[in-house]
Amino acid sequence: MKSTASTVLAKAGPFLGLLVVIALFSIPGETREFFLTYYNFKTIFTQTVIVAIGALGMTMIIVSGGIDLSVGSTVAFTSVVGALLIERGWGAPAAMAAVVLAGGMIGLLNGAAIAGLRMTPFIITLGTLGVARGSAKWLADSQTVNYDDSAINAWMTTSDPFSYALPAGVWVALSLAVVTSLVLRHTVFGRHVFALGSNEATARLCGIPTTRLKVIIYAVAGCFFGVAGLFQLSRLRQGDPTVAVGLELDVIAAVIIGGASLNGGVGTILGSMIGALIMAVLRNGSQQMGWPTYFQEIIIGLVIIVAVFVDRLRQGRQT
């Protein structure tokens, strides 16, 4: 048996990273008392929701060998769409469906352009980043879209801030993560996603309809980004076309920290979720330490590099 210990280490890598980061903030006197409390973790979980749901779609895309840079713009666009619909009197369920579908539409267009025009995902989604952001501002007339009240508002908070209950968003993110993980691992669709990312030529050779598969992957991921937009709307309680700038980088970082490979074929939902948590814990901890935001940005940047470097060391030793 080839060193079981290193296999375990490889599987647990991101998880150990999370423990290290948590331990880091549990020691200093400034944060010791409040950091390791249930309420703080409730806050961290709530803050993770948007990145985590984005990371679900992004994991699918990255595992399939692609990338999507338009996540932040998609989230802004869909949240504006949601706000406008609610403003016009749509009920929460209908607005919700429309927001998710709007995200799916953008993903569908991305996928169709990538597969149909045979262009690299980087270029297409870089274009969509601009198109979706611009459209959001156009729809919103470059202003925030305010509405009176909606059931959606309650999804990212609990009625009683001191209650133990987690807000709905956390449960939604968690259940979506479980379902996506199972789908990626145990369905024909999921294995085809891995096949496509691992070796597109093999996938084609083995009769996998690669063009159609790509369109589906980006469309489904777009739906996830729509769900993220929904929670963005719920958090802000208004549609803001300038929100979530650069969110795609957080989402990609979460997936990469979680052990996925930008070359495709490698990645897990569990890893990506832990990656998203690591970033949320870093942000939360830095705030409590009173570190300025630029310092947080530097730290998160370094964590990405270290995580990928450690990952490469690990893989280098295996071969």
């Binding site: 048996m1 080839k2 024909v188 891995f194 691992s198 070796n199 093999t202 083995c206």
Partner: protein, 498 residues
């Protein structure tokens, strides 16, 4: 040997953890000698070359270069001391020019600015040593063929004036004519006192070019001698403990009904015209030079390339669809010549690789029953003798021969009834080759139809019932095996058939 050997290795050992890759290798190469290093995959050739080129340090044993101790600390050190290596996969920057590639890393410069005339002179000198002055120094390397690119790579290696030049499978992607040209280059180098260690699976080739040889098996030197007086049977036996004539052993059988008919198929630019009929139980060989359109014919039949003209009829197929997906459904299976780039998903499990064409069959409503999938994969991995830990191991961790068996297992699991095999034994060791020959024979015996593309003529002549020869995109001649000889095949393949 009376003179000092250019290179002498004694008792070289190297272990990686529990794996003893080298257990005591001795090797002696004279000055200006072409020395063939022969052994099955996993015999330790690559490790030995990595020790020689400084990439690994030996655990035991001594190395001497021109009578002086030689202990390179890294590949750069080895190059400076006089040992250069040409890898099987070429290492060129395709967008850069010939001159830039030859001088990569050793550019003559003044204050950081490249001295172009000095660089050009050096590049030209290196090419002249090889007798290839005709290269245009400023053209990008990508304009040149693989064979020419190899010359550029050799020219780069010559810049450091090596005493020993190691060539790892240099002809694996060359045509016959290019191989001849490479041999001329090697002979030229030999007259200039450069010793060459020549690694190849093609024994005939070693016999043609090498002066002496050394056979490795399981990390040990098991035999060596003069090439001229060596018998191939003896060498193969040293390598494998098997006799040569066993390689193609198979029973004769009667071909049955026609199962596949290709009518004037064309897929420009490389497939001009190809027609053939394939019968159940028949092994059909496709011979020809590289680029003659053999691969393109198979790809067009399988729907991987668009068919511009002509027709492919699969007898008994439910529909006339031509996509790879439809071809699998019609009972065809395709084995790519390019295991790493097309044949396998190296970063995925053996189970996924074996069952990729039919994942839906292992469960319901799109969900896969992992246990059933693994046990199906395990069945074939064991039947084909693939050395593996478990079906969840990644395909990239296996050796070449075992990877090839995994790729073939996919066709067996599907199961295909018409096998399109493109270079099924390329780059794999003799032991795995013999197993694949036997398997192909068994498939034909069981009534399956097989098309084999191969550049290795003894293989086609030993294995096939019918052989078709392609030349410049056209399938020129199809005859029963008994009517072909190696000479006759080469005659047609080189354009003498019309």
């Amino acid at each position: 040997m009376t003179t000092t050997a250019a290179l002498r290795l004694t008792g070289i050992a190297k272990a990686f953890g529990a794996t003893r890759a080298l257990r005591g290798v001795s090797l002696e190469v004279g000055p200006g000698e072409v020395h063939a290093l022969i052994g099955e995959n996993g015999a330790g050739k690559s490790t030995l070359m990595k020790v020689l080129s400084g990439a690994h340090q030996p655990d035991a044993g001594t190395m001497e270069l021109d009578g002086r101790p030689f202990a390179p600390s890294d590949p750069h050190d080895a190059r400076v001391k006089g040992v250069a290596m040409i890898y099987q996969e070429l290492n060129l920057a395709l967008h850069l020019s010939v001159r830039e590639n030859i001088l990569l890393g050793t550019e003559p410069a003044r204050f950081g600015w490249i001295d172009r005339s000095a660089a050009a002179a050096k590049a030209r000198e290196a090419l002249a040593l090889l007798g290839h002055e005709h290269f245009e120094l400023e053209r990008p390397v990508s304009d040149y063929s693989i064979a020419s690119q190899q010359v550029i790579e050799i020219a780069r290696a010559l810049l450091t004036r090596p005493r020993i030049l190691i060539m790892d499978e240099p002809t694996s992607s060359l045509t016959l004519a290019d191989t001849e040209r490479l041999f001329a280059t090697i002979k030229r180098l030999r007259t200039q006192g450069v010793s060459i260690i020549y690694i190849s699976h093609f024994l005939e080739e070693c016999r043609q070019i090498a002066d002496r040889y050394t056979v490795l098996k399981d990390g040990e030197t098991v035999g060596s001698g003069e090439m001229a007086s060596a018998s191939l049977e003896q060498i193969v036996q040293w390598m494998t403990g098997r006799e040569v004539k066993d390689l193609y052993a198979r029973k004769l059988h009667e071909p049955g009904a026609i199962v596949l008919e290709v009518k004037t198929a064309a897929s420009p630019p490389r497939l001009v015209r190809g027609s053939l009929q394939l019968r159940a139980g028949e092994i059909f060989g496709l011979a020809g030079l590289i680029g003659a359109g053999r691969t393109d014919l198979l790809r067009a039949v399988f729907g991987l390339d668009r068919l511009a003209a002509g027709e492919v009829c699969v007898v008994g197929a439910p529909d006339a669809a031509t996509s790879p997906r439809a071809r699998w459904a019609q009972g065809l299976g395709f084995l790519s010549e390019n295991r790493k780039e097309e044949g396998l998903m190296l970063s995925q499990s053996l189970a996924d690789n074996v069952t990729l064409t039919k994942l839906g069959a292992f469960g319901r409503l799109g969900w896969i029953n992992g246990r059933r999938q693994r046990s199906a994969a395990r069945h074939w991995l064991e039947a084909l003798g693939v050395k593996h830990r478990d079906p969840l191991q990644l395909a990239g961790e296996l050796s070449g021969g075992n990877q090839q068996k995994v790729a073939i297992a996919r066709l067996l699991e599907h199961p295909a009834r018409i096998f399109l095999l493109d270079e099924p034994t390329r780059g794999i060791d003799v032991g795995s080759k013999a197993q694949i020959y036997q398997l192909i024979g068994e498939l034909a015996g069981a009534g399956k139809a097989v098309v084999v593309v191969s550049s290795y003529l003894p293989e086609l002549l030993g294995l096939c019932d019918t052989i078709g020869v392609m030349c410049r995109g056209e399938l020129c001649a199809v005859r029963p095996r008994a009517e072909w000889t190696e000479v006759e095949i080469m005659h047609v393949a080189t354009g003498g058939g019309k």
